[in-house]
């Protein structure tokens, strides 16, 4: 099997970027990734882009648009979609396209422009990731789906509202030093609990925000890395993807994501490491409860102990969870998030540590992709 690594990363500032269009965001991230890789751009043989929904912008066919605007024609351009996991699904298929031997250098990007649609539009667009015929039909929102999970987790394991709030508190603190983050201010548990209730038990500050943004990475085969004399590639050691029922009521349990458990198992197995080896984990805290599920399902603690884990600042002896701020504080431009996580891990692993993990969830857990990256020290022999 070919060895493949990330050789360049780039992202826009995340936030409400009124002056930038979807195409502007995608191009900015792409240029930065190309510059970071110190390549020309013409070496790129295919473009994969994650983007959740044309409902946000009325613009589909985004991959072709981005390839065009970035001057990358006539390379194949592919949009991948799996709701909020669109970015990492694009990444995984970019990775497979290199593994296939058809390509050597590929860009994987993600972009979402969520503030062009006004009124309740974004809310409706987000719900398109759930089961519209049965969950949307009764008036559920995306926050509502995660509130149902949170309530059940509280019931089964005694998880508290304060523990949920701590997820947001920790992530806001972690984002203070993240120049790309939407929110760079500390908040308290009191702030979270006194913010408006969106969907009980979830408060406004339990929810990741509406965000515009894009991120891009350049992937390359070992042969290309040697040819280009890349100095500090960050290796892709394992990638797992799994699916679970779209609607919550079709699952065996509300308090675990089988998609995460199975995707993680595949990724750990391919990387030949275990949860105990991970030092940096970027997990999908679209709502506070989801960081708790992730910590449990990825194996950083026992099932039901996630609330206690976040009480210790989301770190233990080995792993630091969402050390760059998570979706809550960095922002969550849905299609971009999976790629943003990999950008953050790459920047970290270039400096320190050996193993990083990204977990990107689509919908209310129906899709999950787990990716394990390794620094140059991670390659044995």
């Amino acid at each position: 099997m070919r060895k493949i690594a990330i050789i360049g990363v780039g992202q826009t500032k995340f936030g409400e970027e009124w002056t930038k269009s979807l195409r502007d965001l995608a191009i900015e991230a792409g240029i930065k990734a190309i510059e970071d890789a110190k390549i020309e751009g013409k070496e790129i043989e295919a473009l994969y882009i994650g983007n959740m929904s044309g409902i946000f912008t009325s613009q589909e066919h985004l991959a072709a648009l981005a390839a065009d605007m970035a001057g990358l024609n006539p390379i194949p351009s592919i949009r991948c979609e799996a709701a909020c996991a669109s970015g990492s699904v694009a990444f995984r298929n970019a990775y497979l396209s290199i593994l296939s031997g058809q390509h050597d250098i590929v860009m994987a990007a993600g972009a979402e422009k969520m503030t062009d649609i006004v009124d309740a539009g974004a809310l409706n667009a987000l719900m398109s990731a759930g089961d519209q015929e049965w969950e949307g039909f009764v008036g559920l929102t995306f926050a509502g789906l995660y509130a149902l999970i949170a309530r059940r987790h509280m019931h089964e394991f005694g998880t508290t509202q304060e523990q949920l709030a701590l997820v947001s508190v920790n992530n806001h603190k972690n984002a203070l030093k993240n120049e790309y983050a939407q929110f760079r201010q500390e908040i308290t548990v009191e702030d979270v609990l006194s913010s408006p209730i969106i969907s009980d038990p979830l408060h406004l500050l339990d929810c990741s925000p509406i965000t515009d943004g894009a991120a891009a990475i350049i992937l390359a085969s070992e042969e290309a890395i040697k040819r280009l004399k890349i100095e500090n590639p960050i290796w892709v050691l394992g990638v797992g993807q799994a699916s679970a029922p779209l609607a919550l009521h079709d699952r065996k349990s509300l308090t675990r994501f089988d998609s995460t458990i199975i995707a993680a198992r595949k990724a750990y197995s391919q990387a030949k490491i275990s949860a105990k080896d991970i030092e940096y984990a970027e997990v999908h805290d679209c709502f506070s409860i989801n960081e708790i599920l992730a910590i449990e399902d990825l194996g950083f603690c026992e099932k039901g102990e996630g609330g206690k884990f976040v009480e210790k600042n989301g770190i233990n002896e080995v792993v630091k969870v969402n050390s760059t701020g998570g979706l809550k504080a960095i922002g969550h431009p849905v299609g971009a998030t999976g790629i943003r996580q990999l950008c953050d891990l790459t920047r970290i692993l270039r400096e320190k540590g050996k193993y990083g993990l990204a977990q990107n969830v689509g919908g209310s857990g129906s899709t999950c992709v787990v990716t394990i990256l390794g620094s140059k020290d991670s390659i044995k022999g």
Binding site: A120, G139, R151, I197, I198, A247, H249
Partner: protein, 139 residues
């Protein structure tokens, strides 16, 4: 603007029977029951034999949330409760729950009732089932 397709007339008409009468499916091969209905039994796949099955409409609350932020068509109901009901037959099903908010708890018994579900801006009304809390007196 046209109606959002999710509340459009073609969609509503298609699944009206299942939404009005809680008709799901039963796999005659493995005896599993499904609500909403499924065409394929995920346990048996090609060996499955699915037929229609009408659920009793009784159950208990498995989880619930109170929504203060509503999508299009539901604004006028705020706040409203959506829950996952564990039907008597053992199957989970998503529905609105009606009754005094204080009385809504995990484990509470509920039963299905026919109600107005949502009203679109141009007046199209979706109907369906909601679950109401059963007042058990001493409980």
């Amino acid at each position: 603007m046209p109606l959002s397709p999710i509340s459009s007339i073609p969609v509503a008409r298609r699944i009206i029977k299942n939404r009005y009468r809680l008709i799901g499916s039963l796999c005659e091969n493995c005896k599993s029951m499904f609500m909403p209905p499924r065409i394929i039994c995920p346990n048996c796949r090609r060996k499955g034999r699915m037929k229609e099955y009408e659920f009793s409409g009784e159950g208990e609350i498995y989880s619930f949330t109170i929504l203060n932020t509503a999508p299009e068509g539901f604004e006028y109901q705020k706040p409203y409760v959506v829950g996952i009901i564990k039907l008597r037959e053992g199957v989970l099903f998503t529905s609105q729950i009606i009754g005094k908010v204080e009385s809504i708890r995990i484990g509470k018994r509920v039963r299905a009732v026919f109600r107005k579900m949502s009203v679109s801006e141009d007046g199209f009304i979706n109907y369906g089932l909601k679950f109401e809390v059963i007042d058990e007196g001493s409980s």
